[in-house]
Amino acid sequence: MAEVEVKPKKAGPLQCSICSQRRAALKRPKTLEQICRECFYAVFEEEIHRVIVDNQLFKPGERIAIGASGGKDSTVLAYVLSELNHRHNYGLDLFLLSVDEGITGYRDDSLETVKRNEIQYGLPLKVVSYKDLYGWTMDEIVKMIGLKNNCTFCGVFRRQNVSDCLLSNLPSSALDRGAAMLKVDKLATGHNADDIAETVLLNILRGDIARLSRCTSIITGEDGPIPRCKPFKYTYEKEIVIECIYSPNAYRGFAREFIKDLERIRPRAILDIITSGENFRISTSAKMPEQGTCERCGYISSQDGKGSDFSRILDSPSPSDIDFLPSFSHPLKDQKWCKACVLLEGLNRGLPKLGIGRTRGLNNGLEKDTEQSNGVKKIQSKQCSPRFGYMVTLTISSEFLNLRDMNLVENEDSGGIRMNISIGLGLCLLGDGKNSPLKLANFEQV
């Protein structure tokens, strides 16, 4: 990064350090240069162009879907790509691709923004909805699993791997599927330098060496059906904000706060983190194996470009549960499903933790029927394996159906099953190992 030349002091306002004609209007976050607005836009766009060309992100004639969330990153991406496509004759066929998760009230605004983008930049828009893709809207999912400030699934970096999170898997998977439906050659997303720097740090902190080896790549998933690229890989978030009048409050984690502190001390630190990530040498044996087609949806999975082994997910113990790992055989154990399908299946069975490694004691015969009749949702299970030998019938009125978490835990001492439902309105269900009716007892919220 070139250091700013020290110019002799003049009386009056600072001149733009690039054109020396106009008045300097701002200090560029990346390089701390004093420049005017016009030069800022020019240098901003020129740098993106260089990134696209130097990394050979696109080929002429390709159909490119721009992942459009309605946020600042994708809005600016849409603008810049369409602008550069025109200015430098990339010859690309550009589309906007947006995902409607079905969250009442929230997505409406973002979708409005994207529709505006469609008009402003003349880019055709395609919207895919969770309902069409998965059969569930986000509202329905949330109602099923419940949501607190700390997502039940994620536990925000404490105990669980965020890659297990339903809420973080479905979006990227939906984008892939939408892109496939549109028959595009590539997907472009608005991930910026701050995002990638944060991801590098988070993967170190979480111990995810496989992701660490991939996260700085500007193109991912080349071996899958829909490669993705990140034209904003070297673009500072602050500069995108300047470009764009919108800046919705994005997620601010502790890692992002740390990156902001670093940026204050040394602006180039963000790029240096990305450089480090690019230079990490990770032996191939440490990478995630298993690439394949999901047996449920027939799709080669998500962003990783790799499917996941269902049994591996199921068997991987979470730290606090290592003692509860029973040896049983799950019917789906040997099937290969992608992460999204695994998590969705869990949802369909009313077992939201399925596939996250915390459910235990799933019985061979445990099935769930949900019926909605007279406002009462029933969850019935049938005769199970001899190991547990009980029949559980739960009838819970829908008002109580705030089930956030269902863990089946085998208590070897008592020989029975204790089913815990944590958080929310707690219902403790006790079975005693025989065909006796269940006792319903209330316990205080844990």
Binding site: I265, D272, G277, E278
Partner: protein
């Protein structure tokens, strides 16, 4: 041996997750404490050591007020656990052979204090010379305090060198050191340069006094901070070089036997065992507005929130490919070589990088990436000196240590310690050939 790779293990667990005995022990531990009715006297359940179940654990004996797994062990098991990690690190990496003279870098902090305690304990039967050497990085401590601490270390017959950093210069050291540091404008650069100079002086003492190994007390916590700060400085390529058990880049190889111990544990041991030491960590980490201080705060915040975070960071970085110099080199001593090969097989150590790096930075000694090396080879060197010092350095040192203005470069270069210059020249002339 790499730290345990099983999920969020207890901090400090160093055994392989595949080790069946570990699983069994774990399940015993947890079953013992969680299942009702197994322990006859359930009132005592929480007071006994988790491991030996005989003695009272630290929490109940009232000596510690911290939470966490450490407090559930008794003192003997706690100390034994730490010492075990130390021994395992030394043995599995063949760090110290019977013929070695080991120099222990002693900063009077808890980590190096424990190292000073453990080394002789491990070797108490063999005939060795163990010496302690200290670098004067911390002017706050009076020499008198230091001497009294060292004199209490058994066995008493030890050589104790107190050496200031400016001894790296042959003459006029104090002033030259001052000028050199003043020429560095970036605060982080200054801190890091001091660390590099410290290593230089340790190497010099070791060389002059015939030591064959240099032992540092670097613990997990410090290494975790180094992982993050090196990442932040763009040193992702060279990072693995600094964080292994062994670093044989140097003339006197450097070993890190406390790599698997947390600073919290080492502090605790010093406190409980009455080992004299001074709380240096706080001194070094306090109000520094630079990158290093910021990283240290960040990591300690994460560690509070999740006590296995430091382990996870080091474990992740441990999966990056190390360099060929990160193991004890084959020596003339066939016994050492044999032991080395045997331990590699036994502990299933990874094969290390076989192609040596092209070159190293003369200041920080980090291996350069191929592209950085090529850039530095390109013409445009200073005609007068036949080489350009700055061009031989790594990008990080170029940014944060070397002066920016061309007019200041000569001034800066004139205060460089001779060793840096020699390295740069060797490199430069080597390239030109």
């Amino acid at each position: 041996m790499a730290a345990c790779s099983a999920g969020d293990c207890q901090p400090g667990c160093y055994r392989s997750a595949d080790d069946d005995s570990v699983r069994k022990e774990k399940s015993d531990l947890i079953n013992g404490t969680l299942s009702s009715g197994n322990v006859p006297d359930s009132a005592n359940r929480h007071n006994l050591c988790l491991k030996c179940k005989l003695n009272k654990n630290l929490a109940s004996s009232g000596t510690v007020s911290i939470d966490g797994d450490i407090s559930r062990l008794c003192f003997d098991c706690f100390r034994g656990n730490l010492f075990g990690k130390f021994k395992l690190a030394v043995a599995s990496n063949v760090m110290i052979s019977p013929t070695d003279n080991v120099l222990v870098a002693f900063s009077v902090g808890p980590s190096s204090r424990v190292a000073l305690q453990f080394v002789p304990e491990m070797q108490h039967k063999a005939q060795k010379n163990f010496d302690a050497s200290r670098d004067r990085l911390l002017p706050v401590f009076a020499i008198q305090d230091m001497k009294s601490i060292v004199s209490n270390i058994a066995p008493p017959a030890k050589a104790f060198h107190v050496v200031p950093i400016d001894s790296i210069y042959s003459s006029n050291g104090r002033d030259r050191l001052k000028e050199l540091l003043n020429a560095v404008k970036d605060m982080t650069g200054k801190e890091d340069l001091l660390q590099h100079l410290r290593m230089l002086s340790l190497q010099k003492i070791a060389h002059e006094n015939g030591y064959t190994k240099l032992l540092l007390g670097s613990c997990t916590s410090r290494i975790a901070c180094h992982v993050i700060s090196a990442t932040v400085k763009g040193q992702g390529y060279s990072l693995p070089a600094d964080i292994q058990y062994v670093d044989a880049r140097w003339e006197i190889p450097v070993v890190l036997p406390l790599r698997d111990c947390l600073s919290q544990e080492l502090n605790m041991l010093c406190c409980l065992d009455g080992l004299g030491c001074l709380e240096t960590m706080e001194v070094l980490n306090s109000p520094h507005a630079g990158i290093n201080g910021s990283v240290a705060s960040f990591v300690s915040l994460l560690q509070e929130e999740n006590p296995s975070r430091e382990c996870t960071i080091v474990r992740t970085a441990g999966k990056l490919t190390p360099f060929h110099f990160n193991q004890i080199p084959e020596s003339g001593d066939s016994n050492t070589n044999l032991a080395s090969r045997r331990s590699q097989k036994k502990f299933n150590l990874r094969p290390y990088e076989s192609t040596p790096p092209e070159s190293y930075c003369p200041i920080c000694n980090s291996p350069l990436t191929r592209s950085d090396h090529i850039i530095s080879c390109s013409p445009g060197s200073d005609e007068t000196h036949g080489y350009e010092f700055g061009a031989t350095c790594c990008p990080s040192c170029q940014f944060q240590i070397l002066p920016k203005e061309p007019s200041s470069i000569e001034h800066f270069n004139s205060f460089l310690p001779g060793q840096f210059v020699v390295r740069a020249k060797e490199r430069s002339y080597g390239l030109q050939r």
